[in-house]
């Protein structure tokens, strides 16, 4: 593969931050959801 370092850097710099943002979103969502009664979380179905 030509330019393997650039390809790896580009994909890594995409997947890494997106994965971190997804993790932050899930963790923050859980933390906030604990502070609210279920009736305020109308999307929760299970």
């Amino acid at each position: 593969m030509t330019h393997a370092g650039y390809v790896a850097a580009g994909w890594g710099l995409t997947i890494g931050p997106v994965a971190a943002y997804v993790a932050w979103t899930l963790v923050r969502g859980r933390r906030l959801a604990r502070q609210l009664p279920p009736e305020e979380r109308r999307w929760t179905d299970s």
């Binding site: 030509t2 390809v7 899930l26 609210l36 009664p37 979380r41 179905d45 299970s46």
Partner: protein
């Protein structure tokens, strides 16, 4: 077997543990389907983008950066468009729901713009010989990134919610003006960046490359929708928690759970000192 919301004693609702009832998270059956599709799509995109699709005759394997760079740019456009729509709807209807949509989408748009800039820089080094040049497309994209960072900063300035939302809506609309400038920059000014390719579905692009690029668009769109659902719910919960009445009610419920004799004894001790 755990206690349900209806069987748990009222005093337990004020503790620091999870709220009673269903699991506390931002997921739903719809978002789980969306998330599953996104994960499957990401796996397929990695397979097609890094293995199955062919290398370019001129660029070699550096062309594989296109499959993330272009979708990131398109998703950033979409996210900022949604922010603009939400901003207009706030100004017209004063709807908190639309304000939260605008804020959530702007954050994802900033992430998309950042990915677009970084992958573009990484792609530029082997193809142009430089990570960065002050080209019209690159410069206006960097400006777009900064404008929406400013939008998010404005939202964090302490103010009355209505005032904050008004400021943010105006700032969001002003920032969105840069989106068409970014898009048409390659046509309006002499640019090292290539002209629009996807909008005219350039038939010169290899079929498998085009398929992979379209797959990237779909995967990024699914990812955007999944993030929007969860980010909006976070914004919704933050808004609810910020609500003064709810805070007061929660404090009262917490106070009900406090053991009174201990508190009285502490008061007496402090008074004696």
């Amino acid at each position: 077997m755990t206690l349900s919301a209806t069987t748990r004693p009222p005093a337990a609702t004020g503790d620091a543990g999870p709220a009673p009832g269903p699991p506390a998270h931002t997921g739903s059956s719809g978002s789980r389907v969306l998330g599953t599709l996104t994960i499957v799509g990401v796996v397929a995109l990695v397979a097609f983008g890094l293995v199955i699709s062919p290398a370019d005759v001129n660029q070699g394997d550096a062309v594989r950066l296109m499959y993330i760079h272009v979708p990131a740019a398109i998703i950033a456009y979409l996210a900022f468009f949604v922010t603009a729509v939400g901003s207009v709807m706030w100004l017209v209807r004063k709807s908190t729901w639309w304000d939260l949509v605008a804020a959530s989408s702007a954050e994802i748009g900033v992430l998309g713009t950042g990915i677009c800039l970084v992958t573009g820089m990484v792609w530029g080094r082997p193809t142009w010989g430089a990570y960065w040049i002050w080209d019209a497309r690159l410069t206006t994209t960097a400006l777009l990134f900064l404008l929406f960072c400013g939008y998010l900063a404005i939202r964090r300035i302490p103010a009355d919610p209505a005032v904050r939302n008004q400021r943010a809506a105006v700032a969001g609309l002003i920032a969105f003006v840069d989106v068409p400038i970014v898009h048409f920059a390659v046509s309006w000014w002499r640019s090292l960046h290539q002209d629009a390719t996807i909008s005219r579905l350039d038939p010169t692009i290899d079929g498998l490359m085009l398929f992979t690029l379209m797959l990237g668009m779909v995967v990024f769109l699914l990812g955007y929708l999944w993030l929007m659902v969860h980010r909006f719910r976070i914004a919704w919960m933050e808004d609810r928690i910020d609500d003064v009445g709810l805070d007061r009610a929660l404090d009262e419920r917490r106070a009900e759970g406090q053991p009174q004799p201990v508190a009285a004894a502490e008061t007496d001790t402090v008074g004696a000192l």
